[in-house]
Symmetry: C2
Subunit: 453 residues, 2 copies
């Protein structure tokens, strides 16, 4: 079986992050202060985030933002990540499509999350912060930040969504091995957690709840900042190293993608692979399709509403203009824990509203079918999250069989699934199910946010 | 923190394996037919192994053996693996030593084992074999062979040592995801397994027993060959791609190792990293030290005896001249399951006998101390097996603190520990222990083999 990987030399690793907002004709609407309903100013974010991260969050001017030397140095420990021509998958499908994947699973923590974790830890350290907090769904972000915190000598407390804490105990062990403190969320350690546990003692948690807890701890602890792994603009910004590298690597392969696909939780991995290519759509130079692949059980892009909503369950965060299922939406316990979030980042939300990208929803079983086919064909066991991108890729590749088109499809393999083998076990035993979601359920949660702004 | 990785371009991936035996002044003594006690001929091995593998096993003539094009192609999917300057570990230790590691954990299956798995699967396929069997300790070899079998379209049955089957259920899931059949050993599916289970119903297995079962199944199944992941010469031969790449990469770094270290189970990872460097010791050109790091609970190199012994528990294999603890030695249930084997490969045994290399034994807790320090410093959570090499490296690096010497130390990070997080959990909870081994215990097992030849 023919094999082809493309790697960049060290001096071709990106020196800047790409700030897509500066290139967007229709800018995202501003986040609002939940009390005053006034647009947020940079200063409003300073109590919560490191200043430079807050500035990046609201930056609509600078197209290119320089990557600090210390962060670039850490990137060198695993970047560039390989771009791989998926000959095995093409053969298994019998498709004329050319399939490529950007393999972010080779980072020491096993996913793309380290790209932003290192940046966030660095900026916190730089301004003298000693403690940071965060939440984690599947644990990929928590693992990445745990290593980044250790690398930049910060103390870290991670609120881990309880269902993942139980389904993926070894992600907890990984965080602890790097020296982080890990708390199952909802917990009794915060007001937000206690409130939810009082009302729903058996609630297995969600990213929205874990964010509330991490924010609350950061706000009530001295010299402590909050960090997060997706959704916000600055996180997606840091992930654009993925797409920038992929663009150069596709050039090495002599191709340009007709379709770019990423799985979708909050948007950082999707934006990371997509935005550097989308740039060429903005100029009219290219006409690439961009597809976000979300789980059918948490379908904010395909079945949610564009509305101002909170980023967390308790309503601590600013109000964000986004595609949302409502901040009280409690997603089913699917194994792609990293995709169980009620809202989409504001950039992606605006792009989708403007029809500059597409979204598809994938059932849990379709994702695992795709995962096992990919593992057999390419040797890498993908994370359940990434498997949604693989499933969407397979759909497009199968269309090419029908039409005979040799389309070039690029997807982001955001992480490996070696810590998710319990879910593969269940799948192989036939114990996994799809989760249907009625229109009524969706309506109910959206009803609750209609008067927020 | 400064970071430096060295990678080779595709055309610098080795084209040949290095057959150290052809360069050895004192050749290993021949394996013997257990019935006749006559030296084994190539034909004697043909029923069990693919012919070309059998020929490689006994080849004492050819220094360089060409890697088949199909195998090289598959190597390209993950090779070259990075050579990393461990600045983080150096800093954490405060040593003047220059520490490098060859990172074999980046292979899709997470360890070096794939280097030989692909070769063995290829040769079996080439001669028309349809089914293969093997044993696995920690599951690293089983996972690698499962993917290789899938890549070359072979059916695979894996006997997995029962203690690992229970301690590491997710390695089983990985093998099953690649489509392999996995059986806990000892099992009731073979005569060898039934005999042991009758005598010791609660026996948790050993590599020696699992080998007996895999050999028995191969011999009694049509068009079926046996394969294995370490100990034998041809396996170590395939692993020499590691050391060959490392030599070129050390050259890129402008250094040559004073000390080369590998963990030691049967010898394939140790030989893989060492032999290409040892070549220059043979010519007198260099004077590198080679250190095999074995677990204190399974100390064949440091406390065993050089003697003819069986490679398996039931006595199905040829008699091999090796450092051994006796083929009935039942190792303690340490977490480095890949190192729980009673004997050493014949090449390494001869080299140790001739003082061309050294061996040290490492207690379980020292290995985990080293593992966690390495994870914090370098971001990669190492396999418990590889941690023995890290511990030995740390010992040498600490000596350099005392002497002030800037020695260059190279070790092989044979695999990551992401499937071994249960053992990290136990370590972090303070539940792991060392296993002491009395001289009487060792004597008893050696007594049983003294009349074999």
């Amino acid at each position: 079986m023919k094999q082809k990987r493309y790697l960049l030399s060290e001096d071709n690793i990106p020196t800047h992050w790409y700030n897509v907002v500066a290139d967007m004709k229709n800018k995202p609407m501003p986040p609002l202060n939940p009390g005053t309903k006034e647009p947020l100013k940079n200063e409003d974010l300073y109590p919560l985030f490191a200043k430079k991260l807050a500035d990046q969050e609201l930056d609509q001017e600078n197209i290119w933002i320089e990557i600090p030397e210390e962060v670039r140095e850490m990137y060198k420990s695993y970047r560039s990540t390989p771009l791989v021509r998926a000959y095995g998958l093409e053969k298994a499908l019998g498709t004329p499509a050319h399939i490529y994947f950007k393999n972010e699973s080779v980072s020491p923590v096993g996913s793309h999350k380290l790209n932003s974790a290192l940046a966030q830890a660095y900026y916190c350290k730089e301004e003298g912060v000693t403690n940071i907090t965060t939440e984690t769904g599947a644990g990929q972000w928590g693992a990445a930040l745990s290593y980044a915190a250790k690398a930049f000598d910060l103390d870290l407390a991670v609120y881990m969504v309880k269902i993942s804490y139980q389904q993926k105990p070894y992600r907890r062990s990984i965080m602890q091995t790097y020296g982080a403190q890990v708390i199952a969320s909802p917990s009794m350690s915060t007001k937000a957690g206690r409130k939810i546990l009082t009302e729903h003692p058996n609630y297995m948690g969600s990213l929205g709840t874990a964010i509330s807890e991490a924010v609350e701890l950061a706000m009530s602890t001295e010299n402590c900042k909050y960090t997060l792994g997706s959704v916000l603009n600055h996180v997606t910004l840091h992930q654009t190293v993925i797409g920038q590298e992929a663009e150069k690597q596709m050039e090495m392969a002599g191709e340009y993608p007709d379709i770019v696909i990423g799985c979708f939780g909050g948007g950082s991995n999707f934006g990371g692979i997509s935005f550097p290519f989308m740039r060429h759509n903005f100029t009219g130079e290219r006409n690439t399709r961009f597809i976000a692949a979300e789980p059918a059980s948490c379908p904010k892009l395909t079945r949610g509403q564009f509305h101002y909503d909170f980023g967390d369950e308790a309503g601590y965060t600013p109000l964000l203009p986004m595609f949302t299922l409502g901040h009280n939406f409690a997603p089913a316990n699917i194994h792609a824990g990293g995709l169980r979030y009620h809202g989409a980042g504001v950039i992606v939300s605006q792009l989708l509203k403007d029809n500059l990208m597409e979204a598809v929803d994938i059932e849990q079983l379709e994702a695992f079918d795709a995962a096992v086919l990919f593992a057999e064909a390419e040797g890498i066991i993908p994370a359940p999250e990434s498997s949604h991108a693989i499933a969407a890729t397979i759909r497009e590749a199968k269309k090419c069989i029908e039409t005979g088109e040799e389309k070039t499809i690029l997807f982001c393999l955001s992480g490996h699934g070696l810590i998710d083998m319990a879910s593969y076990d269940q799948y192989l035993a036939g114990d996994l199910v799809n989760y249907s979601l009625s229109d009524e359920e969706i309506e109910k949660n959206l009803e609750e946010i209609k008067d927020l702004v």
